[in-house]
């Protein structure tokens, strides 16, 4: 064999070997393995698909289930709610039924009542009619009776009037006779006067007596040591009371000029005096800030009125009731005291000090004269200022006196003028002055005569001046005192006139 052939032979052999190998190895096993794996693979993929489908189905089922369960919950809740509402309704129905039966009962009850009431009403209506008829009868009767009554009364009045006329006539006659009698009596009196004997047989005779202008002194008494600041006559008597620096109050009989009694107890000098209308108590204002009330009969101090914080310079007692005392002190107060209770019932505070006080005749008003020159009126109940009047311009008021009738007030001031005020109008109705007349001190007192014709005042030069109101002029000057005249007083009987001076000398003028 040639090389070529050997070579080709070898190549062919190699190829055959390759083919054989192929058949044995991949040729045999490849298809087998593929065949084995495909069903598995395909099955596997089938199962995968199945599993996926089942999964999705399951998910859908779960979703559906959850939806259903939600619905179920909702439904259950709704059914519960409707059950509950049903129960409520049932119970409501039951209660309503009960109410209904109750109402029915009530209704039937009410019907029965109504029927009764209607019956009663009918009865009453018929009764009413009857009574009305009766009433009308009665009214008619009454009218008749009234008419008769009137007629009778008229007749009776007629009778009475006739009687009254007769009585009047009788009275008139009687009065006429009395008047005549009086007139004759007066005639008698007048005749008696001419005789010089005054008999007080009529009450109120003093009102008809004239005040006598004194011309000379009757007595001159050394009453007090150190000075006499206040003198006062008892009401409608000749008894004189004086109070002085020596802390005593002395009672004098002016007819004889002798000392009747002395009242002790005052601790300071007496600055002002007042006496009750029944002449039983004397009240003194003292420089020791107190007031003392004596019983004249016993001579003992009945009250000591304390409360002022400075010297008491003015005091007055009510003329109506002896109960009320008013006092003014230099502590700028005016105090109202009740003697029955024994203490101060009212305190009036005023910026200007009051020098002098006087009660009105009705006892409701107080007159006060102040350092600022004004005259003020106070109401005693309330303590309120009623009015004020400028009595003395720029000069202190030193004295206030009320006339016996209570119509006129006399004020004296440091301007040496004496003014007369009408109480009701508070207008000056007269001014009196004199050239030599000088008011001695802040508390120099002047006075009016009982018949309101004259005014008397003392002067610092020791003389007493007497003016006539109507003439507005001096009618008399009385000189006797050696010291300045501090105060004066006119007796209620018309005479005498008393005055006291700084040396304690009391002169009695007649």
């Amino acid at each position: 064999m040639s090389q070529e052939e050997i070579a080709r032979e070898a190549i062919k052999h190699a190829l055959k070997a390759l083919r054989r190998r192929h058949l044995v190895e991949e040729g045999a096993h490849g298809p087998a393995l593929i065949a084995l794996s495909t069903p598995i693979i395909s099955q596997g993929s089938e199962w995968k698909e199945k599993a996926e489908n089942l999964e999705t189905e399951l998910q859908q089922c779960y979703k559906a289930q959850s939806r259903l369960s939600e619905q179920l919950v909702v439904e259950v809740a709704e059914s519960r709610a409707s059950k509950a509402s049903l129960k409520e309704n049932e119970s409501q129905i039951a209660s309503l039924q009960e109410e209904l039966t109750q109402s029915r009962d009530e209704c039937s009850q009410l019907k029965a009542d109504l029927e009764e009431k209607i019956k009663a009403l009918e009865l009453i209506v018929s009764e009413n009619h009857q009574i009305r008829a009766q009433l009308e009868e009665m009214i008619a009767k009454a009218k008749n009776a009234e008419a008769e009554n009137k007629m009778l009364i008229d007749r009776w009045m007629l009778q009475k009037m006739q009687d009254a006329e007769r009585l009047n006539e009788a009275n008139a006659l009687y009065e006429h006779l009395i008047d005549q009698l009086k007139a004759s009596g007066l005639e008698k009196l007048a005749r008696q006067q001419v005789d010089g004997v005054v008999r007080r047989s009529e009450e109120g005779a003093e009102f008809f007596m004239d005040s006598i202008v004194p011309t000379s002194y009757k007595h001159k008494i050394n009453a007090h040591e150190g000075g006499c600041a206040s003198i006062l006559f008892e009401y409608n008597s000749g008894k004189l009371i004086s109070g002085g620096q020596d802390r005593s109050i002395k009672l004098w009989d002016t007819n004889s000029g002798t000392l009747s009694s002395t009242l002790y107890g005052c601790l300071g000098s007496v600055l002002d005096l007042s006496i009750t209308h029944d002449n039983r108590s004397v009240i003194a204002a003292s420089s020791s800030n107190n007031l003392y009330v004596w019983d004249v009969q016993s001579g003992r101090v009945r009250h000591t009125l304390t409360g002022h914080t400075d010297k008491v310079c003015a005091v007055d007692v009510s003329k109506v009731s002896s109960r009320h005392v008013v006092s003014a002190a230099y502590d700028r107060t005016i105090k109202v005291w009740d003697l029955q209770k024994g203490y101060c019932t009212n305190t009036i505070i005023f910026h200007s000090n009051c020098n002098s006080l006087a009660f009105s005749t009705d006892g409701q008003t107080i007159f006060s004269g102040h350092v600022d020159g004004n005259l003020r009126l106070w109401d005693i109940q309330t303590g309120k200022l009623l009015s004020e009047v400028a009595a003395h311009s720029l000069a202190a008021v030193t004295s206030i006196s009320v006339s016996r009738s209570g119509n006129i007030v006399l004020t004296s001031g440091r301007d040496n003028m004496h003014n007369l005020f009408d109480i009701r109008s508070l207008e000056v109705c007269g001014t009196l002055r004199a050239s030599g007349n000088r008011v001695a001190s802040n508390w120099s007192r002047s006075c009016i005569s009982p018949d309101e014709n004259y005014v008397a005042a003392g002067s610092a030069d020791g003389s007493m001046y007497v003016w006539s109101i109507s003439k507005a002029d001096i009618v008399s000057t009385l000189k006797e005192h050696t010291g300045s005249v501090l105060c004066c007083s006119w007796s209620g009987l018309g005479k005498p006139l008393a005055s006291a001076d700084k040396n304690g000398v009391v002169c009695i003028w007649a």
């Binding site: 070579a7 190699a14 190895e25 393995l33």
Partner: protein, 355 residues
């Protein structure tokens, strides 16, 4: 170049494997059945993980997978093509080939580490560069390969796509020797075509020599390889000179590679002795055991054996070609994609040298 029939067979070749999970790694009861797969001859064992893993993943113990195979206790080198391993270790071809797969306990003292498909790819490219160097004296053409070409080349190897491989590899111009005699497949006539300007070239060869101490008549009696010490690995190119009137046979080539297994006579006969190069052993073996394959020629053995060595068996791509076959045909048709010709030899040696 049209694809030859033989090349088709070579590329389509696959070994049936029956892969058992090692018992130490079985965690399920019953143990998983062995996996039956076809492994391409020109492919590599680590590339089979994608096929194997699904079979055994459920039975594995927890941990990180480190894949390695063993045949009858011998851990298998992963950079060697599967076909070569089969031809080498199964004297009597075992079909299906029973391998044991391990996912744990990588024997790092015996095998070099393999991280995965990329390690295999780089090993392949490395072999390709070696081959280019042997053929051309430099590996510029490999290194200048475009990224897409590289990817396509490797994919064609992995998928066993010979057409794609031809497209890319023809660009590399790694042709060595023309067939002196080839059989046209269509016509079936034996027409020799002696045109062929064969240049003087060097053929990259990897020799695997399994040395056996005793003589054997039947392949079944070959004692099993239980250690890589028994295998010699020889990496020597063969020089080819064109001679008129004569062609290089397989026998000549083997003689040129392993002169020690041939007598004096045979040494003189083969002219290819002159240009014999002894290349250094590939560093892959790490200088351990050399694989010396003794080829036992079954038939047409002219030279008498010396007292020491006797080539018992020559196997290339699973076949045992005749010694007279033109070596050029062998090279062109039976080479692996990495342009290396892998030859397995069974050699009887009286005294085993382990160096």
């Amino acid at each position: 170049m049209p694809i030859m029939e033989a090349q088709k067979y070579v590329w389509e070749g696959a070994i049936p494997l029956q892969i058992h999970l090692h018992e130490s790694e079985v965690t399920t009861f019953p143990p998983p059945p062995p996996a039956l797969i076809l492994a391409p001859r020109i492919g590599y064992l680590p590339l089979l993980i994608a096929l194997i893993k699904p079979y055994f993943s459920s039975a594995l113990p927890p941990g990180v997978d480190t894949l390695w195979f063993d045949y009858k206790g011998l851990p298998l080198k992963w950079y060697t093509p599967t076909g070569v391993l089969f031809d080498l270790l199964c004297a009597e071809p075992e079909r299906p080939w029973n391998l044991t797969v391990h996912f744990r306990g990588y024997p790092a003292n015996i095998l070099i580490p393999c991280e995965g498909e990329d390690a295999v790819k780089w090993s392949f490219i490395n072999s390709l560069k070696e081959a280019a160097y042997i053929i051309n004296g430099n590996c510029k053409n490999i290194m200048n390969m475009s990224q897409s070409d590289q990817v396509e080349l490797w994919c064609s190897v992995m998928n066993g796509n010979v057409e794609a491989y031809q497209r890319v590899s023809s660009k590399l111009k790694l042709g060595t020797v023309e067939d002196e005699y080839f059989v046209k497949p269509q016509q079936g006539t034996c027409e020799t075509d002696t045109i062929g300007q064969v240049k003087t070239g060097r053929i990259p060869i990897r020799l695997y020599v399994c040395s056996v101490s005793e003589d054997f008549d039947d392949l079944e009696d070959v004692p099993k390889v239980d250690s890589w010490d028994k295998i010699s690995f020889i990496n020597r190119p063969v020089e080819i000179h064109k001679e008129e009137g004569k062609y290089l046979t397989l026998h000549d080539a083997i003689e040129a590679l392993l002169p020690e297994y041939f007598s004096e006579k045979s040494l003189i006969e083969s002219p290819s002795q002159e240009g014999e190069d002894k290349n250094n052993i590939s560093p892959e073996d790490a200088g351990d055991s050399k694989a010396e394959e003794v080829v036992n020629v079954c038939n047409d053995l002219e030279a008498s054996c010396t007292s020491n060595a006797e080539i018992k068996l020559i196997r290339i791509q699973g076949i045992e070609p005749k010694l007279k076959i033109p070596f050029s045909w062998v090279v062109n048709n039976l080479m692996n994609p990495d342009y290396f010709l892998h030859i397995c030899l069974y050699v009887k040696v009286a005294n085993l040298n382990t160096t």
